[in-house]
Symmetry: C2
Subunit: 355 residues, 2 copies
C-alpha cells in the first residue's frame, strides 16, 4: 500500500502530519513518501506540480493531500498558481469521481448558520464529476469577438462539454453510492438553458433505469442552491457536473457549520484516489498549531476504505474521531462554551489515543 503524501501550503503540513500519525498506529504496512506540491513546490522547483511529484502520485495507490494556496501567489500567471497542482493531478490521474460528504455532527449542530432542526442529523453526499465540464473543455482563451453583442471587442471564452460516457460513469457512481445509503439520487442540471446539461439529464435518466430501487429526481442548479438552504435534509446523494458541483458542495459543506470536519475523495476508474480535506490552506492560521486536523484524518479513513481496501481500519479512525468529539475536545474552529479547546497536535494525539 503505497501512499503519496502531499502536504502543500498553509496549514497543509500541520494537518497532514496528524493524519500520518494516525495512519502509523493502525498496525498496517504503508509505504509513504512525501513530495512538494502547490506554492511550496513552486517556491522550490518553479512549478506547482513538479514532474517528480506527479510521478510519485501516479505510482501510488492513494494520495494524501493537504491544501494548496496563499495570497502571495495571486499575481503569478495562472499556470504557476498553486491550484493548478490540484487540477493537474485530477486531469493526469483521471480522478473523475469526487465524493464530498456534508455531514452535521450531532455535537456540532449549534455551529451551523442554520436553525438546528434543519441540520441536525444532516448527511448529504455530493458526487461531483471532476475531469470534464468547463474546467477542462477546449477551446478556451482570449480573442477578438467573432460575433455577439460587441463583435471585434476583446473577448474571453471557455467551453463546457460533456460526453455520454463521462456522464454515464459518474451516474453509475452516484446510483451505486445511493444503494448503500437512502436510495435517493438528485441530479442537478440546467437543462432549461444548457445543451450540455440537457444531455446530462437525458443520460442520468437512462442510467437510472438500471437502478429501479433508487429514487431519482432532477433539479435545476438555481433551485438546488435554494433547497440546500430551505430543506437540506431533502437530499441524500446529489450528482452533478464539475462547475455546479464546485459551488453546491461548498454551499452544502458550509451548511454543516463545521467545514473543518469534512473529508473528500477523488477517485479514478481504478480506485486510485486523492484524499483531502474540504477546507482550504487557511494561510492566516498556518504555523500556529491551531488548525483542525480532523477533516484530513477523516480523509485518511476514506482512503483506507476506497483505495486501500481496509474498511475496518477506516471504521476505527471514524469511531476514534467520534469519541474525541464525545470527550469534548475541540479545535478553535469548532469550539464552544463548555468544551475543551485543543491545538492541532493535541487533537491528533487524542485520535491516536482513542484508536
Amino acid at each position: 500500500m503505497k501512499i503519496a503524501v502531499l502536504p502543500g501550503d498553509g496549514i497543509g503540513t500541520e494537518i497532514v502530519a496528524e493524519a500520518v500519525k494516525v495512519l502509523n498506529v493502525l498496525d498496517l504496512k504503508f509505504e509513504m513518501e512525501s513530495a512538494d506540491v502547490g506554492g511550496a513546490a513552486y517556491d522550490k522547483h518553479g512549478h506547482p506540480l513538479p514532474e517528480a511529484t506527479l510521478k510519485l502520485a501516479r505510482e501510488a495507490d492513494a494520495i494524501l493531500f493537504g491544501a494548496v494556496g496563499d495570497w502571495k501567489y495571486d499575481k503569478l500567471d495562472r499556470q504557476f498558481r498553486p491550484e493548478q497542482a490540484i487540477l493537474g493531478l485530477r486531469k493526469n490521474l483521471g480522478l473523475f469521481a469526487n465524493f464530498r460528504p456534508a455531514i452535521c455532527y450531532e455535537q456540532l449542530t449549534h455551529a451551523s448558520s442554520l436553525k438546528p432542526e434543519l441540520v441536525s442529523g444532516l448527511d448529504i453526499l455530493i458526487i461531483r464529476e471532476l475531469t470534464g465540464d468547463i474546467y477542462f473543455g477546449q477551446p478556451r482563451g482570449r480573442r477578438s469577438a467573432p460575433d455577439g453583442h460587441f463583435p471585434g471587442a476583446e473577448e474571453a471564452f471557455d467551453t463546457m462539454r460533456y460526453t455520454r460516457p463521462e456522464i454515464e460513469r459518474i451516474a453509475h457512481v452516484a446510483f451505486q453510492a445511493a444503494r448503500k445509503r437512502n436510495k435517493h439520487v438528485t441530479s442537478v442540471d440546467k437543462a432549461n438553458v444548457l445543451e450540455t446539461f440537457q444531455l446530462w439529464k437525458d443520460v442520468v435518466t437512462e442510467v437510472g433505469q438500471q437502478y429501479p430501487d433508487v429514487k431519482l429526481d432532477h433539479m435545476y442548479v438555481d433551485n438546488a442552491a435554494m433547497q440546500l438552504v430551505k430543506q437540506p435534509k431533502f437530499f441524500d446523494v446529489v450528482v452533478t457536473g464539475n462547475m455546479f458541483g464546485d459551488i453546491l458542495s461548498d454551499e452544502a459543506a458550509m451548511l454543516t457549520g463545521s467545514i473543518g470536519m469534512l473529508p473528500s475523495a477523488s477517485l479514478n476508474a481504478g480506485n486510485q484516489g486523492l484524499y483531502e480535506p474540504s477546507h482550504g490552506s487557511a494561510p492566516d492560521i498556518a504555523g500556529k498549531g491551531v488548525a483542525n486536523p480532523l477533516a484530513t484524518i477523516l480523509s485518511a479513513a476514506m482512503m483506507l476504505r476506497f483505495s486501500l481496501n481496509q474498511p475496518q481500519a477506516a471504521d476505527r479512525i471514524e469511531s476514534a474521531v467520534k469519541s474525541v468529539l464525545a470527550q469534548g475536545l475541540r479545535t478553535a474552529d469548532i469550539w464552544s462554551e463548555g468544551t475543551t479547546k485543543v491545538g492541532t497536535l493535541e487533537m491528533g494525539d487524542a485520535v491516536v489515543a482513542a484508536i
Copy 2:
C-alpha cells in the same frame, strides 16, 4: 408611460392583477396593455413568446411580468418551453442588468432557515449580467466529440463568453448602485479556472479605479456560495455573470426566508425594463387565491423608480407594503402564529388601502 402587462402562467395572473390594482390607485396616467406569454402563449399561439407579445414589449417603457412555467410543458422541445419567453425577452430587448435584492424584512426574520442574528436587517443587492455568458454563447449543440476523454462519443457543449464592453457596463451599474448604498462591491468570479472570469476580474478591477469611494473585493464563486451562508451581512452589492448570478441570487433570496417578498428588475441601456417577482409560477397553488402578491407589487415599485421616473410613487408603494406587514397581514407563505392570514386579493386590497 406605456406598460406591457405579461401575467404568464400559474399564479402569474393572480399576482399581476394585484400589482395592476395598486398601480391604478396612484393617480398616474399609464397606458397598460396585456399579452400572453409562456405556457399560456404556447397553448393559444403555439409559441411562448409570440411576435405580438414581443412587439408590445419592445414598444413599452416597461414590462410587468408575472411568472412562467408548468410541469405540463416539460416534455416540449426546449424552444417551445415557457422559460424561453423570458430568455427571448432578455435577449431581444438587451436587458443586460438584472437587479435582485435579497432583503430580510424585520417582521419576517423568523421565516429564514438561518439564525435570526445572521439575517436580521439583511440587505444584499445582487447585480447579475443577463444577456451574455454561457446562456447565449455560440457555438452550442450536440456533436461527436472532436477530442477529449472519449473522442467520437456523443457530446453536448456550450460556450461561455464575455467581452470587455459587456463586463464594463455591468461593472458600472454595480459601482453606481453601491454609491447609493454601503459603497461595497463584491465581484464574484472563477478566475482561478476560467479564462472568461479572469477577464471579468481584470475588467471589474479596472472599472473600479473610477470609483475610489467604493470598496471592491473579489471572491471565487464557490467561496461566495459559502459566505452567503456563513456571514450574509458581509455583502452589500454583489456583481457577477449570468450563470453564477442565477445560482447565487436564488441562494441569497432563500436566505431571507421570504422569497414571496422579493422583486426584481432587468434593465437595458435605455432604462427600459422588465419587472418580475423573484419567485416562480408555483403551479401547485395557482388559482387558489393564496399566492403572495407582494413581490410583484414591489416589482411595480421598482418599475416606477427605474423605468418610469416616478420615485415618489415607488416610495408610496414600498411604504404601503411595510405598513400592511406592520398591520400583521400575511399570505400563507409568510404566515406565522399571531399574524392574520389573508389571500391574494385581500393582500392587494390592503396595500391599496394603505396607499
